[in-house]
């Protein structure tokens, strides 16, 4: 469906920036080297044959036990050319960071905050990288596979013996 996007990427980035790419069930995907994350995004947005104007989604996957442990997943869509592509960018466990895409698509701002909040992946250069869903007192990142499934961190509880 959007093979042209992968073709254009392969033609433009020849220095090994595209680590892997493929096409499954009519969806194209590519795995991007971490240092090429912003240039690839810029290219996809501005190239007249890809024209990815619309940011759809950014999230993260914890592939616990594999390396790199975290995959930041980006979905973008071209409204004018009606094609979409999915991009991955790996972040290792010891120092999980990825460059922020806020300068490319402003809409990624809160999505990156969410990925940071729930997975602990830092987005370098993000203008306001704070938790967005959990409260500031929360310790850890709850959607990581090594976070205990039911571990709660209550802010307030009734005290036995205290007047209600």
């Amino acid at each position: 469906m959007a093979q042209i996007v992968l073709d254009r990427l392969g033609a433009r980035f020849t220095g090994g920036e595209i680590l892997e790419s493929g096409s499954e069930h009519g969806d194209e995907w590519a795995r991007i080297r971490r240092d090429a994350w912003i240039p690839v995004a810029m290219f996809l947005r501005d190239d007249p044959s890809t024209k990815m104007e619309m940011f759809i989604d950014l999230t993260c996957v914890d592939r616990f036990g594999k390396e790199p442990r975290f995959d930041v997943v980006l979905h973008v869509y071209s409204v004018s050319l009606k094609h979409r592509v999915r991009l991955y960018c790996g972040a290792p466990e010891e120092d999980p960071w990825v460059d922020t895409l806020v300068s490319v698509w402003a809409g990624t701002n809160w999505f990156e905050r969410e990925a940071y909040d729930l997975y602990g992946v830092r987005f370098k250069g993000h203008p306001d990288l704070r938790r967005i869903l959990m409260y500031p007192e929360f310790v850890g990142h709850p959607l990581r596979k090594d976070y205990p499934k039911e571990k709660r961190q209550p802010l307030v509880r009734r005290q036995a013996g205290a007047p209600d």
Binding site: L133, M134, Y135, P142, Y147, P148, K149, E150, K151, R152, Q153, P154, L155, V156, R157, R158, A160, P163, D164
Partner: protein, 180 residues
Amino acid sequence: MGFEFHTSSLKAAVNWARKFSLFQYPFVTACCGMEFMSVAAPKYDIARFGAEFPRFSPRQADLLIIVGTITERQGPALRRIYEQMCEPKWVVAFGVCASTGGFYQNYSTMPGADQVVPVDVYIPGCPPRPEQVLDGLILLQERIQRGEGHSQIAIEAEKGYDVPLAAIRPLGSTHRKEEP
């Protein structure tokens, strides 16, 4: 003897008035809100039971209806709203999420609103049907008439009166296991 008879019947009259003029504060957070609207709308019509006025300030309300899932993050806000209400006050947990956390068993959801505020009546269901809600409301009214609302009991206990045995309840539900 006559004096005692007088106070107890006055109490009964006051409680009768209270149970038919509940001013509710709906703390609506989730899909149960749809069922709540249905209860409030003319078909099921909670107004028939004297509880038709939602007040959007806790200071003007005496019935806190917790409708929907409560997250840990909402805990302090819920507690503060409860504390702002005038006494005597009553609390209803509407639906399983407000009662026990429902099917959410995770890091973000509070296992029942009674972790933070005392609850007088739990209405199960996901969401409960309007008839169930009215049933719960009638249950609460019976409780108010008997003077067994948690806040009524607290007021009585403060005055040094004997409180009904039903008042001595454990904190929260007992079937829940301790969190790790």
